[in-house]
């Protein structure tokens, strides 16, 4: 059996999609690496279930970052302002935080992230989820004027 098929079976085992017979067969053949993978899937899955993240497709990053800037305005450190004026940088914002921020996010009609599509190439990074406590997080997926991915920045903003 190919490695891809092995991984598929492992994912199906993890997701509880196998019948009893198939499950027993796969479990009997698990290697140490397979068990490590299952453990990692458990961790990621648990975090996904408890994730406190939200996404708004087409959401202008300016709004998200301005909120962060406003929060930092009284602080002595400069804020990540350029994104707000550099409109050529398209960005998708994922806004995650404690309950208060989540309430604000819900009010802004954001919806829960499960597994966003992975950007096409380059320095691409897909943030599958964020779990934060005691701080706010903004995810900036940046592209240049040509739409090429120029990377992802997760901005953490500690709550006072």
């Amino acid at each position: 059996m190919g490695k891809r098929e092995d991984m598929e079976r492992l994912h199906r085992l993890h997701d509880g999609e196998l019948d009893a017979e198939a499950r027993a067969a796969v479990e009997a053949g698990l290697s140490d690496d397979d068990r490590a993978r299952l453990a990692a899937m458990d961790e990621l899955g648990a975090a996904l279930r408890h994730t406190a993240s939200a996404e708004a497709d087409g959401f202008d990053v300016a709004d998200a970052v301005m909120a962060a800037i406003g929060k930092q305005a009284t602080a002595p450190l400069p804020a990540p302002t350029p994104i707000t004026s550099a409109r050529r940088w398209r960005a998708r914002a994922i806004w995650a935080s404690t309950a208060a921020t989540l309430a604000a996010a819900a009010a802004a009609a954001l919806f829960l992230v499960t597994r966003p599509a992975i950007p096409p190439h380059g320095d691409a990074c897909s943030i599958e989820s964020l779990e934060v406590s005691g701080e706010q997080a903004t995810v900036l997926d940046l592209t240049d004027a040509h739409g090429h991915d120029t990377g992802t920045v997760v901005w953490l903003d500690e709550e006072d």
Partner: protein, 157 residues
């Protein structure tokens, strides 16, 4: 037995193809690096050892920061499910978990994992799927009149 050599050649070609495919899917072990960068607002430029990140650090959202120093860089070789712990300069602890390597349609290679930073009253765990060789930047924690940037990258070979 004219067919035998042809059969052997065909079998050999199949084996080579299977081996190549297995090799393409085999890189389970990943080499993951975490750099810790201090960004300061005063003029000073990007430290030479941060050259691979220069383009990322000199554009939004970092334009207000003019000095970038590398405080540390640690690399670990990880198998799926394994993690590496990092002592961060802010007194926080970092934990990088490597989950898996995946080959996507079109031949793109990505690594999936998570990075947790915790300390004091706050914690953040980011789960990501990152292009092999690419960098994910996690920034914003205040430190020494500046901010910290954690730059994560992994290659699975």
């Amino acid at each position: 037995m004219l067919g035998t050599p042809r059969l052997a050649i065909a079998l050999g070609a199949c084996l080579v193809a299977v081996a190549a495919q297995a090799r393409a899917e085999a890189p389970d072990v990943a080499r993951c690096a975490v750099r810790v960068v201090l960004a300061l607002p005063q003029e000073g430029g990007v430290a030479p050892e941060l050259a691979p990140l220069n383009a990322r650090l000199t554009r939004p959202p970092f334009l207000h920061w003019k000095t970038f120093r590398q405080l540390s860089q640690e690399e670990h070789t990880l198998k799926p499910g394994e993690s590496a712990d990092y002592k961060l300069p802010s007194g926080r602890d970092g934990k990088l978990v490597y989950a898996e390597h995946a080959t996507l349609a079109g031949g793109r290679h990505v690594v999936r994992g998570s990075f947790r930073v915790e300390g004091g009253k706050s914690s953040a765990r980011t789960m990501f799927a990152l292009d092999e060789g690419g960098s994910l930047l996690i920034a914003g924690h205040r430190y020494d009149d500046g901010i910290l940037i954690y730059a994560l990258s992994c290659t699975a070979h």
